[in-house]
């Protein structure tokens, strides 16, 4: 029973990380209909920047904020410089551009910071809580991770549901032409979508870095899981991303815990296939009419 509880708790904490990456992917998908394969590399860069700031003597909080701000700028620049030219092109072209960006960023990180993974400080203690003599697999830092991701998700929900800016972003994503006619700066909304996505990614990077270490290629598995989580939840739905992330985190935690970690990638495949066979657009997809 303790084992089940442990696996559940650690599943929720890794699931929260997946959810944050999935949120980043969903934001970009909603804005520009592109799956950003460079997301993992982008959040790797922002985490390296945070690491450099913290190593220079600044506090953790300052490092975190610098990561978020650099994510904001980075996402906007990437959209304006690299993605804008391929937005009207065949969809696979944008995929190749993001793959190229991923490769380039991994190489640049290796050039600047080296390929040896390095430690990254955690915000709070990594020692599990002790309840009635047994130590749980859930630490104060895990609490921090879950709370931060939930706060980010809630802020995004507020932005999209309650503000005029969020409404404009939704309109720009939904019908760009009509939104433009009504005075929305559609291109600017796309840039903002990418910038916000990079911020969500930067959050995930700083949160996950203490447990996976920080190196040019160490965030690749996070991106894959985040993508699977986003597809699971439905790429158009931010709540779907959060639920997909948590579901995937729990499922992979149980499979790794009871059957061994080598089966985890296969389990992800099986879950994805089963869910998509029942709902081809993900868990939170809206039914869509088909027109000639």
């Amino acid at each position: 029973m303790t084992r089940f509880l442990d696996l559940t708790l650690s599943g929720i904490s890794t699931g929260a990380i997946y959810a944050a990456v999935a949120l980043a992917l969903v934001l970009i998908w909603r804005a520009t209909r592109i799956v950003n394969f460079a997301q993992g590399a982008m959040l790797m860069i922002t985490t390296f920047i945070a690491s450099a700031v913290i190593n220079a003597g600044a506090s953790y909080v300052v490092g975190f904020i610098v990561a978020l701000l650099s994510g904001l700028v980075f996402g906007a620049v990437v959209e304006r410089v690299l993605i804008r030219p391929v937005e009207g092109a065949p969809p696979l072209n944008a995929v190749i551009v993001t793959l190229g960006l991923y490769t380039l960023l991994v190489a640049v990180a290796g050039m600047i910071w080296g390929n040896q993974p390095r430690a990254f400080p955690a915000a709070f203690s990594l020692r599990g809580y002790t309840v009635g003599g047994t130590t749980l697999l859930f630490s104060p830092n895990d609490t921090f991770i879950v709370v931060v991701v939930l706060v980010v998700a809630a802020l995004l929900a507020l932005l999209f549901r309650k503000t005029s800016l969020g409404l404009q972003m939704r309109a720009a994503a939904f019908t760009p032409e009509i939104a433009r006619l009504l005075g929305t700066r559609v291109g600017r909304m796309f840039t903002l979508g990418w910038a916000l996505a990079a911020v969500a990614g930067a959050v995930a990077g700083v949160l996950v870095a203490p447990s996976v270490f920080l190196g040019p290629n160490d965030f690749d598995p996070i991106l894959i899981s985040g993508f699977v989580a986003a597809v699971l939840g439905g790429l158009d739905s931010p709540p779907g991303a959060v639920v997909g992330g948590i579901v995937l985190g729990l499922a992979l935690s149980y499979v790794s815990g009871y059957e061994g970690s080598s089966l985890a990638p296969l389990a992800a495949l099986v879950i994805l296939v089963v869910v998509l066979m029942i709902r081809p657009g993900g868990l939170f997809s809206a039914a869509r009419e088909r027109r000639v």
Binding site: V97, G100, L104, A268, L276
Partner: protein, 356 residues
């Protein structure tokens, strides 16, 4: 038809045309493999099996409009089939390669059935999970698949009638080129058949196509299964060249670079698959040589090839949105008259050869 145009008429028959192309290409490859070094022959063999995989993928992605990030996993299926049959059961190589195609076709059926229901990123997600998940099986059953170390087979021996000093590399190049030519022959005929037209119809407008009686799900499943068979053959040929099937040979990066090869080569065009295969063979060598030619600190030199690769991908897509083949077509001024099927298809359906 006027009598003087009988030759033109024969050329218009797809089967005749494809046979002629295959014979000519076979002769060129025969001469080429004799004229180049052993190292270049290995590169030729590598390019040939990449072509087999890319050709299948370009039909799926260009004509079928479906994206697959899982071709590397299907290559692994073919590779392990050959390794098991040749290494443990001592099958002749040709039979093992045929079995590799068969097994990957069969594995492709359920995946294809799932794929035909999914679109864009959802299909990308499933095939991505396939690319990551399937090679993990080798770790789960080390007794059968040899775990991380994989399975080793003996190199194929050139038949004695080719002479004593016929090099192994040249023989491998022959085997792989034969495989690539078979794939080219099958796919060329397929693209110009009813199935090819059905695929394009479903891609351009699935509802209109199904109203015309095209079985949407079945057509797309078939496209996926065919591309799976090509990937299986490519993987089997990879085992012939490497004499080794191991999970490390089929990382996610392989599947991704296959997609890169198809798109940069020119989506939907079999000639584009040739450019793509050449790119996959030569680009890594070229970036390595370039990085080595300048003296830099280790950290920079180690990562420079990767950086160049990334820049090439981005630049290619910004400069040549239709890939190398699409770029060549428009350079030759032929784009108006005759587009390669699917190169620009989705966005210029009026320019399809079918609809001339």
């Amino acid at each position: 038809m006027r009598p003087g145009r009988r030759l033109r008429g024969a050329w218009d028959v797809t089967l005749v045309r494809s046979l002629l192309v295959i014979v000519v290409l076979g002769l060129i490859l025969y001469v080429l493999s004799g004229a180049i070094t052993q190292y270049r022959n290995t590169q030729l063999a590598t390019g040939a099996y990449y072509f087999a995989v890319l050709a299948g993928l370009t039909v799926l992605a260009g004509l079928g409009g479906k994206i697959s990030l899982g071709q590397g996993a299907l290559m692994a299926v073919g590779a392990y089939t050959v390794a098991l049959l040749v290494g443990n059961e001592h099958w002749p190589l040709a039979a093992a390669l045929a079995a590799a195609v068969l097994v990957s076709l069969i594995i492709g059926i359920p995946i294809g059935a799932a794929a035909s229901r999914l679109h864009g990123p959802y299909l990308a997600g499933v095939t991505l999970a396939l690319a990551v998940g399937l090679p993990a099986l080798a770790d789960k059953f080390p007794a059968t698949f040899g775990g991380e170390n994989g399975l080793v087979i003996n190199p194929p021996t050139p038949p004695s009638w080719l002479g004593g000093n016929f090099s192994l590399e040249r023989w491998e190049a022959w085997i792989c080129c034969a495989g690539a030519l078979i794939v080219l022959f099958v796919l060329y005929n397929l693209v110009h058949s009813g199935l090819g037209r059905s695929l394009r119809a479903v891609r351009d407008d699935s509802i209109a196509a199904s109203l015309c009686g095209v079985r949407e799900g079945r057509t797309q499943t078939l496209a996926f299964v065919i591309s799976a068979g090509c990937a299986g053959l490519g993987g089997g040929l990879l085992t012939v060249v490497d004499q080794l099937a191991q999970p490390g040979a089929f990382p996610l990066q392989l599947s991704l670079s296959l997609l890169v090869g198809v798109v940069i080569g020119g989506l939907g065009s079999l000639t584009g698959a040739v450019w793509g295969a050449a790119l996959l063979v030569f680009l890594p060598n070229w970036t390595n040589d370039l990085a080595r030619s300048v003296s830099l600190s280790t950290k920079v030199a180690f990562n420079l090839p990767l950086a160049i690769y990334g820049v090439v991908l981005i630049a290619a897509m910004l400069l040549w949105p239709t890939g190398i083949q699409g770029g060549l077509w428009s350079l030759a001024g032929l784009a108006r008259r005759r587009l390669p099927p699917g190169a620009l298809g989705r966005f210029r359906p009026d320019a399809h050869p079918d609809q001339r």
